[in-house]
């Protein structure tokens, strides 16, 4: 079980997040982790220390003070990398492996899709595409894509 204690967060000179236990003034560098990064990104955030032990459990980011929330969100944004595909420009070929040119929420990029099986359904509408390097790209709602992108995507589903 996680110990309930009062804590404070701040950033050290190396840019790491530091968690101070206000009860005994001990300090540990921590990393925030989302427990359900896709289905419920703002619920269940865990702060773990460098040994991988959970120090603090946060039910919901909303219940934190603004200062803490911003620190955690910054750190999360820094660690999380799952570009969300907004538009598919083109694919090099209709058979895999092929190169995809896409627009993501993080800018334009391209990736190699090794096989259709690398497109996985999280739910019937949410897809996760794993590229040749293992980077995951998200399609949050495939029905929300425009018809051009949908048509391309449809070839591989």
């Amino acid at each position: 079980m996680i110990q309930e204690f009062n804590y404070h967060l701040n950033r050290d000179v190396f840019g790491k997040l530091l968690c101070t236990n206000l009860d005994d003034q001990s300090q540990k560098s921590v990393v925030p982790i989302r427990t359900f990064p896709i289905t419920a990104p703002n619920e269940g955030i865990s702060l773990i220390d460098s040994q991988g032990h959970e120090l603090v459990w946060i039910n919901n980011l909303g219940e934190l003070s603004n200062e803490l929330r911003i620190l955690i969100e910054e750190e999360l944004a820094n660690r999380e990398f799952m570009p969300e595909i907004k538009y598919i420009y083109e694919v090099s070929n209709l058979t895999t492996p092929n190169v995809w040119q896409v627009e993501t929420d993080l800018g334009k990029t391209s990736f190699i899709l090794k096989g259709e099986e690398d497109i996985r359904h999280l739910t019937s509408m949410t897809l996760v595409i794993t590229d040749s390097h293992g980077i995951c790209l998200l399609i949050r709602n495939r029905s929300a894509l425009d018809s051009h992108s949908r048509k391309i995507l449809d070839h591989f589903l």
């Binding site: 000179v13 840019g15 944004a77 799952m82 058979t95 492996p97 993501t104 993080l106 190699i112 293992g134």
Partner: protein, 772 residues
Amino acid sequence: MTDSERSPIKILLSAALPTMSPLWFTQIESRLNVEEKVIAWLETDLDHQLRFSQGLVILTNQRLFSKVSINASWENWDCRQQDLTLIRRDYSGAGNLELIDANSLLVNWRYTIGKDIAAGYLIKQFMRHYKSGSAEEKYLRATQILCPKCKTLLPVDQEKCSICIKNIDARPSVWILFRLWRFARPYKWRLLTGFLLTLGSTAATLVPPYLAMPLMDNVLIPYQNGKSIDISLVTFYLSGLLGAAIIAWALGWARTYTLALVSERIGADLRTATYKHLLKLSQEYFGGKRTGDLIARIGSETDRINIFISLHLLDFATDVLMIIMTTGILISINPWLALITLLPLPVIAWLIHIIRDKLRTGFEKVDRIWAEVTNVLSDTIPGIRVVKAFAQEEREAERFYTANQHNLEINNRVNKVWSLFIPSVTFLTEIGLLVVWIFGIWQVSNNAITVGVLTAFLAYISRFYLRLDSMSRIVSVTQKSAAGAKRIFDILDHVSSVPEPINPVHLPAIKGRIELCNVSFRYGTRSVVRNINLVIEPGEMIGLIGHSGSGKSTLVNLICRFYDVTEGAILIDGIDIRSLPVATYRKHIGLVLQESFLFFGTIAENISYGRPGATREDIIAAARSAHAHEFILRLRHGYDSLVGERGQALSGGERQRISIARALLINPHILILDEATSSVDTTTEKEIQKALDNLVRGRTTIAIAHRLSTLQNANRLIVLDRGNIVEIGSHQELMARKNHYHRLYEAQMRNIDTEGELVGLNVAHKIVGDQK
């Protein structure tokens, strides 16, 4: 030599390194000082907000300078003055390279994981130039070659990157069928015979309409005009018809039989070749694929191709021949009428072409969905105990229903196109016939042709169009089998991620010295082990200890070469294992796993799995050493007792001892025990422990164990924590150090105390002894 040729960048380009994008070329050239040389660089592709953006980090022999994005300004750090350190980390596919000095973080750069190797190279070069004599330097021994195009690490001996090759080779679907020729070549003479028979039988079927012409003009029309029927002439024509029918029947039978025989063999060859290739693929491939999908590919896809060759392709060939011959005959009778008759042909061809693309992707989808349905089955049937235990039958039924529903939906969509296709072809044929009727009647009325000629034409083209109709079916079956062929060639083209070396080194006998040099391994974006350096002497027993997920099993998998290292190298007797033939290398390794897998067959067969030619005496000797002999004798049929797919009839400990006997029988130089005793109770463990003691003697042994008591005999214990070696030493040394091992040991002692068991532990015995 011109100035530009002497520039630092040019010097670097000659090295075997990925080339820098020309975008940066000119920008850097002007910024370099006199006598400044570029040592390494990293093209970053993310900014600090992790948005895709081009940036560059350059390491020279004087400094580090960088640009976060194209429009940002250059920043400099003098590496000679300050005490700088570069650190790289990565998480979920985004890498982070940090430059820190003693006091704080100076700057960091972000990049996608594809650039990680370039980042690693940058750090290594940095260490070498500015931190010489550091521990990092010796890591540079393991040289690496990158694919110049996609910058993934190339395996030793392999010049081309498998990802890039596959990309270039991707062709449109239908062409893939021509690649089946590889499997057809051995049967080319029989195929030729089949073709000649097809030619003959098709010609024979074309005789009857030709005979209808004189029958009409010379017999029936004259009779209508008042002449009597010439019996001998009628007999001649009718016997001609009968003769043609008999010849067509005989030839058709011979041709179908010959070609079916050949196609069946081609199908069998294809299946065998695919399975053979599949077995050679690495563990990684099987990890990423689902059983149901692979079974569907090898089973039903090869069958589909088989049917395609024996039925549809044959029919199609016959049809084409028939069309060519019919066209010839029609033109020889009346060129103008022939022209009119053949007019709908291009229209139909065009129609076929349009629908082709729609159907192809449709059928590929149907295949994938079908594999999905199979996957549900292959997931749940082996796990049926779990399904039942959690009373999830309804949910699995629902999952199957959903997959099926999806299947229906896709099929519906394909059928929508398909259902329009056939009636359209039929409609066009009818229109074609109508045109011939109109033109024919007009010609007959002009006395340009006889009624007999018109009859013959109508007889020909009604067959002709009938064939066109069936020919149009070839589109769908070709697409289907092309999709099938693609899925099979996907397997056949897959280059194993543990490739066979091009110039293999042969090691007749090995001593068993294993050396891990700076070994790192990454699974997807997850870095599993990092910078492992370890030397295991011949005959030494090593115990690997650590929490689950600390990389113990990965290390063993790397040593077995189930996977290849991402960075670094594993050497056996000083030779990189990647330069040894995979199968011969593995023959030197005996592996006992936690979950012992028994194949369907007798116990003796299972024990001799690694050495099929073993004598009964050998098998029994191995079983004795594995302490399996006695329980085997208790079975009803002794060594000939059949054990099931997962060895259901035997207990966990019994199965384990059989797999130990299996490892003993091949007499390996290197022995790997991956949690060999953790699935059994402590009493059984003692039995197995005795068996293992026999096995370990005189071999290089790497043992992974959860129960530290299992490792009493180990010469050295290696404690892993999250992919790094944290401690090495004997039990006593590590206990004295009071760190990781001590904690693990204490934790386990407490557990055992609560279980009330003190067996098998040296220390526990000592305590008891002291008290006496």
